[in-house]
Amino acid sequence: MSHRTRQLKVSSLARVEGEGALHLTVHNGQVQRAELNIYEPPRFFEAFLRGRAYTEPPDITARICGICPVAYQTSACNALEQACGVELDPPLAALRRLLYCGEWISSHALHIHLLHAPDFLGYPDAITLAKDHREIVERGLELKKAGNAILELVGGRAIHPINVRVGGFYAVPAPADFVALAEQLRRALDQAIETVRWVAGFEFPDLELDHELLAAWEPHRYAIERGDLRRTTGGVFPPAEFPEHVVEEQVPHSTALHARLDGRRYLTGPLARYTFSSSSLSPLARQAAVEAGLGAECRNPFRSVVVRAVEVVHAVDEALRLIGDYERPARAFVPVAPRAGTGHGVSEAPRGLLYHRYELGEDGLIRSAVIVPPTAQNQPAIEEDLRRVAAANLHLADAELTALCERAIRNHDPCISCSAHFLELTVDRT
């Protein structure tokens, strides 16, 4: 038999946030390398945060990612408030959670309808999908708009909100401002439930992953804007212990650092959250999950689209609850005086755990900053998924294998700008 060498280059994996490439080497029917090659040019946020004031990270780190700026703002605030020894007034904390719900709804609706669903239905994008199923895409866009409406009202704008500050907000809405929004969210709740039903009907390739899971967790509610850290192999630890467990390392094929949990690959994101907190979902969300055939936990990454849809139901429901309970806080922010020290902050970005650490000087200037975004944490796990998906499907033709690999990546809604850009897939078969 003659040796056949096939070089497959699929430039550009679309419908992910950012740019990177995938390198797959298959030798004698064995997957040798499966690398998610992230080459997004580095933007050096941690470097230039040094010397900035403790008040600045919410605005500055938001610019790391246009899709999950609230996650950055919130993790930054959590870390800085901890460093300065400040607790939010409960109504302000509730408002922060509401804002974050907006980001979950918007980001998840975007990923489900515009980025991920076309994979399951065989379309290149949502616009082509809309030619056949306009009402579905419109529903997705409306859902996304409802999330943005929360971001715009509470945060000022959907991308890089301007109303977030360490200690709270610059201005807080009046209860009357929420009337139209609540109306919109009630419609969104129905749309979110329909979305769960819709995605539950997709066909899911078999894949059970065995990654360790890590997510923020709170005892009695679905952790979103804060929490301790919970892992599969037992135990809960506070954000301040994150550096003891998670170590980042550099790999040659990526401008993103790879994180390992006690030396092992692990996964953060919807599957991890759901696995730990499914019992804390709102009744409506739980019911939707059951109807969609989800158990107490979910370990098939292709089904993450269902988990996201369930999380949208929860976020809309939660937003409505928070609005229902809303009373205008007595003050828009808790005054925060700087002090020397270190603070750690986590929150659950739509695509996974986002950790910030700041070391402040007495003058309130930042001495050092560390940011560990979800995609950097997930990169080893994504590569493992790729390896397994490729190994199990080597019989497929190049085009199909490529498409499947791309889907395996999109399962994790990677946010490459957070860590790094655009995927170019190269399969070397020797």
């Binding site: 550009s12 994996l13 679309a14 419908r15 946030e17 950012g18 740019e19 040019p41 580095p42 933007r43 050096f44 946020f45 941690e46 470097a47 230039f48 004031a53 600045e56 605005d59 500055i60 610019r63 790391i64 990612c65 246009g66 899709i67 700026p69 975007l110 515009l114 980025l115 290149p124 994008d125 949502a126 616009i127 082509t128 306009r134 419109e138 866009l141 409306e142 996304k144 708009k145 943005n148 000022g156 704008r157 959907a158 991308i159 890089h160 301007i162 109303n163 907000f169 610059y170 201005a171 390392e249 550099q250 040659p252 401008t255 650092l257 828009a332 791309e406 700008s417 850009h421 655009f422």
Partner: protein
Amino acid sequence: MGKPTLAVWKFASCDGCQLTLLDCEDELLALAGEITIAHFLEASSAVVPGPYDVSLVEGSITTPADERRIHEIREQSRVLVAIGACATAGGIQALRNFADVREFTSVVYARPEYIDTLATSTPASEHVRVDFELRGCPIDRGQLLETLCALLAGREPATPRTSVCTECKRRGLTCVMVADGTPCLGPVTQAGCGALCPAYRRGCFGCFGPMAEPNVPALLPLLRARGMSQGEVERVFATFNVAAFGRGSHDEPSH
């Protein structure tokens, strides 16, 4: 004649400006009806080869490969619109222009030798001819739609180069500088956001970059009189549009 084609390109950025296009929830499908979205990787895996009628360029040029790519994009584009502070001013990552990149790299990456990056972060206009610039970090959705509609109609997009204060006052907001003593960059910042920050009783921090002929030196004493330290004054100008505001904030030695 076929439908005009639109391409969206990304350089060093947060993706927020191109996301603004997807945030046009009410217009997205109508837009797709009027133009062919020929290249928009964030949204579609279908790619139509160039040339393109309109290219939206997001992000700043930070690597030798970027430098080559922006020229290729220019050659393929009839109209090139730079969108956002990164593409129009180098963005926040242009802070490196005033620092030592090797040192920056070593702070973020343990093994800097893997990283291939230019010493500077520069706007598209430093490399190629740019037909329009949309300011903002991020850009404003209304301005993006106006620009697309204007380009389709052959009109000059209405993106005024005047101060944020004009929008602030048209909205009927009360000036935060005068009434609250809050430092505000509105008087030197280009309009376009709709005076967002003053609407939340926050001083403008200049994310739309300098307006036409700003009188920055005249603002500095006013900021200090409202409680900003010299360091704060310098930092507020040295953020999202650091390269555009330049070092104009240094009217006196800081020590």
